[in-house]
Symmetry: C2
Subunit: 258 residues, 2 copies
């Protein structure tokens, strides 16, 4: 049975895609069979891994026309890592979900055969920067979720909202099993007081819910997607690869993936 993990936060540009791609690669490197699903119409996870958007290659056909989702997974060049990428038309996914009877549990329905098929041990979902039906469906279908938060003030402000919304999905019975895996602090810049202050604040208020691993701000992480490479391929001996490797270990241990 695979563990389904949403990477979510309605705040934009906080490292959701960068984390989805590099955490998936870290788990795969630790020999955890992993599937990454790009749920963002922008398709950043797809291109950051070096793959093209392909018509009919995304989750859209499964939701709209009940196509088989498992068949859309492609094996990537990275051992133990498969991808269900985006397509240009993915922008209409939100509208397709609205049309469905049981609009909150569409992803859950389509993910079930993937989760129970025995092929994957972890399924990561890269969510768009909003709390619309795509992210709600992702959270409703997940066992657990990671909130990435850049170490800046405006990102800290939005933290309460995503935790509240996920909590209400759980309490309302839409997904009683949903648990927070943790808050990941990203783009931590040790040279600035701001990062330290935000880190202190978050660790104080949400003690125990914040991953020990923090991801440093490094231009290597912003460069890697332009080559379609993970950080392990692009800058394997740098601080970002070390951080995502450590995160992989921390997540695998916390979720019993190894």
């Amino acid at each position: 049975q695979a563990t389904i993990i949403s990477i979510a936060n309605q705040k934009g540009g906080v490292g959701k895609t960068t984390t989805a791609v590099n955490l998936a690669a870290a788990l795969a490197a630790a020999r955890v069979p992993t599937l990454l699903i790009d749920l963002d119409p922008q398709g950043n996870a797809t291109s950051a891994l070096g793959y093209e958007k392909k018509e009919g290659g995304s989750i859209l056909g499964a939701v709209r026309d009940a196509e088989d989702l498992a068949g859309k997974a492609i094996a990537t060049r990275i051992a133990n890592l498969s991808l269900i990428g985006a397509e240009t038309d993915l922008a209409s996914l939100e509208v397709e979900l609205q049309r469905k009877e049981n609009y909150l549990h569409q992803f859950k329905k389509h993910f079930a055969p993937l989760a129970q098929g025995g092929k994957y041990r972890a399924i990561l979902l890269d969510c768009p920067p909003s709390l619309g039906l795509i992210s709600m469906n992702a959270l409703a279908a997940s066992n657990t979720y990671i909130v990435t938060m850049q170490c800046e003030y405006l990102a800290m402000e939005g933290l309460g909202q995503i935790l509240k919304v996920a909590g209400s999905l759980k309490d309302a019975g839409a997904n009683p099993d949903l648990e927070l895996a943790g808050i990941l602090l990203t783009m931590y810049d040790a040279r600035t007081n701001l990062s330290r202050q935000v880190e202190d604040e978050v660790r104080k208020h949400l003690a125990g819910k914040v991953f020990k691993t923090t991801i440093p701000r490094t231009v290597r992480l912003a460069e890697a997607p332009s080559f379609g490479r993970t950080i392990f391929e692009y800058d394997p001996f740098g601080p970002a690869a070390a951080a995502y490797k450590a995160l992989g270990k921390e997540v695998a241990k916390a979720l019993g993936l190894k």
Copy 2:
């Protein structure tokens, strides 16, 4: 007659809010009577200016219950700058818009008295990181729009999408007058090749559509919102204040606001 300017981009974290707040402040300082409207349920523009979300204080009541929008504008501590802020419930704005007959022109209807009332010369709209009904309504109600783009690869990828969507609103007749004011390059880090490469690429492909002014990456812009201050109040003699002042001049000249 006020010029309505959307600050839009579905890519998250590219400096939309930072630009909406500081460009509004720059125009106000140049004695252009300016109204800033926070259309993002996150309410970052409201808090970055130092104001609280107030129940009934946002555009939601106008769309949902046909309340008077002009009355919700508050005069800020900054001369020539007024604000219609966010409220917690603003998250339901997207659903309220879906319910309306003429769902693309709700903002246009409510903005008309503000634009024609003679009080404002410029109305800036801070949009959320998506191309849902909120951003579409904003673009459909605008004379012009600014796309902020952080100087990084993933942000460059999404540029085509926002330009295409705005172009299709114009061509489909939803807003025949909609013109691109320009692309604003933000978070430009002169120490990295990435920023230079992205700038070169964008200025080459979209010659003439990119503002001369570029906003440098500086932690001061990330710190200012935690004090609820514009960059002019927080770091008046730094490079970011100079850049946003120059942008204000460039925008005022391009749009004939002075």
